[in-house]
């Protein structure tokens, strides 16, 4: 085994370990908010990194690792979801599908409101807030246009604003 090969291998392992420690928490959160299942979320994150490691040598730019991991994880989640429900087309959901909230909607906490958002609105919101990605980056990951992502993010925040616009006491009290 040549020294250069050894050094490259050690560097590859170090970069991977760094990525695991830097991104696994946010990937877990992202998965959890989509599936709301602790065990499934951890399984998906583990599987994501296991698959990523197999192709880690092909990753040309470590700076792109996070977006690449998100793409792998979306595929893993889609595989899990396909067993239970049909895949959603991000461009097939209209404003009319924003949640019809129950009468106590205004008193639900942010977590419940986020959970009530349709997946096609929730997913870009998670990618932006948890992942820190721009609209253009999210559009590339989701395979849609930047304009479509901006529309979904705008509508998602408008739905959430219904809560924030209420006085703080009323918003939190049930």
């Amino acid at each position: 085994m040549s020294n250069r090969w050894k050094e490259r291998s050690i560097s590859r392992i170090a970069h991977f370990e760094h990525a695991v420690r830097a991104y696994s928490a946010d990937l877990y959160r992202y998965a959890w908010w989509l599936c709301r299942d602790r065990h499934l979320a951890e399984d998906v994150v583990q599987e994501t990194f296991a698959r990523a490691w197999k192709s880690w040598a092909e990753l040309r730019d470590v700076a792109l690792a996070k977006a690449w991991l998100v793409t792998i994880m979306r595929n893993e989640l889609a595989r899990s979801f396909s067993r239970n429900k049909p895949a959603l087309d991000i461009d097939a959901v209209g404003e009319a599908e924003l949640p019809a909230l129950p009468s106590v909607e205004s008193q639900l906490e942010t977590a419940q409101l986020v959970s009530l958002l349709p997946e096609t609105y929730r997913e870009p919101l998670l990618l932006q807030v948890l992942g820190g990605f721009s609209c253009a980056e999210i559009a590339a990951m989701l395979g849609t246009t930047e304009g479509a992502v901006m529309t979904r993010l705008t509508r998602a925040r408008q739905a959430l604003r219904k809560q924030y616009d209420l006085p703080d006491k009323k918003r939190r009290a049930i």
Partner: protein, 229 residues
Amino acid sequence: MNCLEFHRAKLADPRRLPPEAQSHAAQCAACAAFASSIDEAERDLERTLAISVPEGLADRILLRVHGARPAWRVWALAAGVVLAIAIGLSTMLYRPAPAEQYARQAIEHVAMEPESFHKVNAGDAQALGELLRASGARLKAPLGAVRYVKLCPVDTGTGWHIVFETPEGLATLLIVPGQPLGATQHATNAEWSALARPTRRGYYAVVTPSAAKTTQIDRLVRERIDWDA
């Protein structure tokens, strides 16, 4: 840029406002106020989304992918794996009989959400009445000071998690509409005692630290809430 365009830009990506939007906000007080309210909401959203992550997740990923780790870490992780298997086996061997499934789940739910006992996010009896109406019940008389209310995920969908004060301490009431229950269930572990009772639209569960107190609170709940409203 006009105000409408500013609103759209701020709602689409609050942290990446283009320079022309920033210039607009500097000259428009209404849009500056709007931006400020969005920023506050965004901070709230960030806090909400940052749920806790299972301890040792990164180590488990690395163990799975690389296998070999420094010796101390291997032993620590191996011990964790053995413990997890032991807990898994004990869970399988001592799986609760279906007859007490929902009472057992109520205990697990309370144990998994310890913040319900120190976080106060409620206190409005009228709103509790509204919540009960939405669940097909009616509050006949105050139950006690309500401290905590949260809509929680449960096996069959969502249910209301309510913590209220009683003269003997805090008590938990879980309301799970939409899940039929044939008969009353009881479950107990070292820390908690639960009772799950069918209602017209599903079931409710009472969880307290002792069987005697659970029975007492269940009596109070039946007296003060009409479940067939």
